[in-house]
């Protein structure tokens, strides 16, 4: 699993990747009560806002950690947004993306680097 400074995670399998928000981000948001998932087929450029997670207090954009095409979205989340809090880095995945530029993965942090980054916040 790899991570961004905006607190998204990427789990690569072959030429696709699951993406979601990290446990740190889910905890910082608090109780997630609404998730807007992306449409399948949507083309993402790294850094695009592609989903929205909302708590009682606020709406937060989720930014694409990699470029590619959305090939699946987690349809469970609109009905069970609390999954983002319960299992942010597994069942709370948001989208599956077919990578268009796998070299972007090299720019992401591994878990040790991400945790070191969290310590600086």
């Amino acid at each position: 699993m790899k991570f961004t400074k905006d607190h998204e995670w990427v789990e690569v399998t072959g030429d696709t990747a699951l993406v979601g928000i990290t446990a740190y981000a889910a905890n910082a948001l608090g109780d997630v009560v609404f998730v807007e998932i992306p449409e399948v087929g949507k083309s993402l450029t790294k850094g695009d806002s592609f989903a929205v997670v909302e708590s009682v207090k606020a709406a937060s954009d989720v930014y694409a950690p990699v470029s590619g095409e959305v090939v699946a979205a987690n349809d469970d989340l609109p009905n069970s947004p609390d999954t983002v809090n319960a299992a942010p880095e597994s069942a709370g995945w948001i989208a599956k993306v077919k990578l268009s530029n796998p070299a972007e993965l090299d720019e992401l942090m591994d878990r040790d680097a991400y945790e070191a980054y969290l310590d600086t916040l």
Partner: protein, 373 residues
């Protein structure tokens, strides 16, 4: 103006909030707890049991002397001569054009004198205006050495029974002075959640002890400003800087209950020419309540649009309602679009979602009202 960490102030309970695991954020110039365990749980706890809120950032002041009534009436649309000792009234600080500069709770704990609670973000302005407009024989004291707690929820009365039983004789919008921990507490039966509850003004130097003791009651949990906001929204209560500011009047904001008929008859409300036209129906916009029928929450700034796409107004507060399970909002639309049941759309991230005008409050209140004689 953005606050910097250096200039933020602290309430006397700051260390206790941190020790309780609160997430502390800048609010109105203070480091304030936005949540402890989580907004959803805190919201529901307050609706079902009793929430304890630190609202010591709010401004507190006393106005006494023969000129106190005249001083208050010159600044507000409210008749304070008829406010009997032991009663409390909601009022508004107006500018020269009847624009709303703040909203206040004004209490009359005893014959000579009024007790004011004003918004934290407005208190410097408000107190300067009052001090600059005192009528003869009026004393004005800012009570910077007092903290303010709110106990809110259906079990607030049980908690008060355990600590200050005499205050349980108060009905909604009544007030008095009581002995609590050997100190003089000023207590009103009111709040900002729509629930039964009390607000307790208490010496800042000893409020930590009071806070600790109240938290020992099994019905009490500390509640942050996050739930305070969702609770007041469900109760349909306006928040200064959102539903109100100097560009709005009480007629637009649907706050006519802050205005006394005797003041309208006298015509001596600041900016009355503008207000009178609006009261006669010449209104461009009015505050409404919206139920969001599907889609994401519509928050402050979301456009309210007609079904034909024309922009009607804007959402001033909105979000998920933890009690109702759907999203709610308040905002402004022209009176012709304000009828209960009107169907319209709210625009969130460029897309329209259906909404309906509903009546306020969203959630029925639980006030301990005095039975009608």
């Amino acid at each position: 103006m953005p606050d910097t960490q250096d200039t933020l102030k602290f309430t006397p309970l700051y260390d206790r909030h941190v020790a309780l695991g609160a997430r502390v954020v800048p609010f109105a110039g203070y480091n304030m707890p936005v949540q402890y365990e989580g907004v959803l749980g805190e919201h529901k706890w307050t609706r079902e049991s009793c929430g304890l809120f630190d609202v010591s950032h709010m401004g507190q002041a006393r106005l006494t002397g023969a000129g106190a009534i005249a001083t208050l009436e010159a600044l507000t649309p409210t008749d304070f001569a008829v406010l009997n000792p032991g009663k409390q009234k909601y009022s508004l600080l107006l500018d020269d054009n009847s624009g709303i500069l703040d909203d206040w709770m004004v209490s009359r704990p005893e014959d000579d004198g009024f007790f004011l609670v004003v918004n934290a973000a407005c208190k410097d302005q408000d107190f300067a205006i009052i001090a600059g407009n005192l009528k003869p024989d009026t004393n004005f004291d800012v009570l910077a050495d007092r903290a303010l707690l709110a106990l809110q929820g259906p079990k607030a009365k049980d908690v008060m029974q355990a600590f200050c039983p005499a205050a349980c004789d108060l009905y909604f919008m009544e007030c008095g002075t009581f002995e609590l921990l050997g100190e003089t507490a000023f207590v009103s039966r009111s709040g900002y959640t729509g629930e039964d509850g009390f607000e307790i003004s208490f010496p800042a130097a000893r409020v930590g002890e009071l806070w600790d003791q109240l938290l020992t009651h099994p019905s009490v949990k500390p509640i942050g400003l996050g739930a305070r906001d969702s609770l007041r929204m469900e109760a349909g209560m306006p928040l200064y800087g959102h539903e109100m500011d100097a560009s709005y009047t009480l007629a637009e904001a649907n706050l006519g209950f802050a205005m006394s008929k005797s003041r309208v008859a006298r015509g001596d409300i600041k900016g009355f020419d503008r207000l009178k036209d609006q009261l006669d129906g010449k209104l461009d916009r009015v505050r409404v309540a919206l139920k969001i029928l599907s889609g994401p929450p519509a928050r402050e700034g979301a456009k309210i649009v007609a079904k034909d796409g024309g922009v009607l107004g804007v959402v001033t507060s909105g979000g998920p309602s933890p009690s109702l399970g759907y999203s709610i909002a308040m905002g402004y639309v022209p009176p012709a679009e304000a009828a209960i049941g009107t169907q319209l759309d709210v625009e969130v991230r460029g897309k329209p979602y259906p909404a309906e005008i509903v009546s306020l409050p969203f959630v029925a209140n639980g006030y301990h009202r005095k039975p009608k004689a």
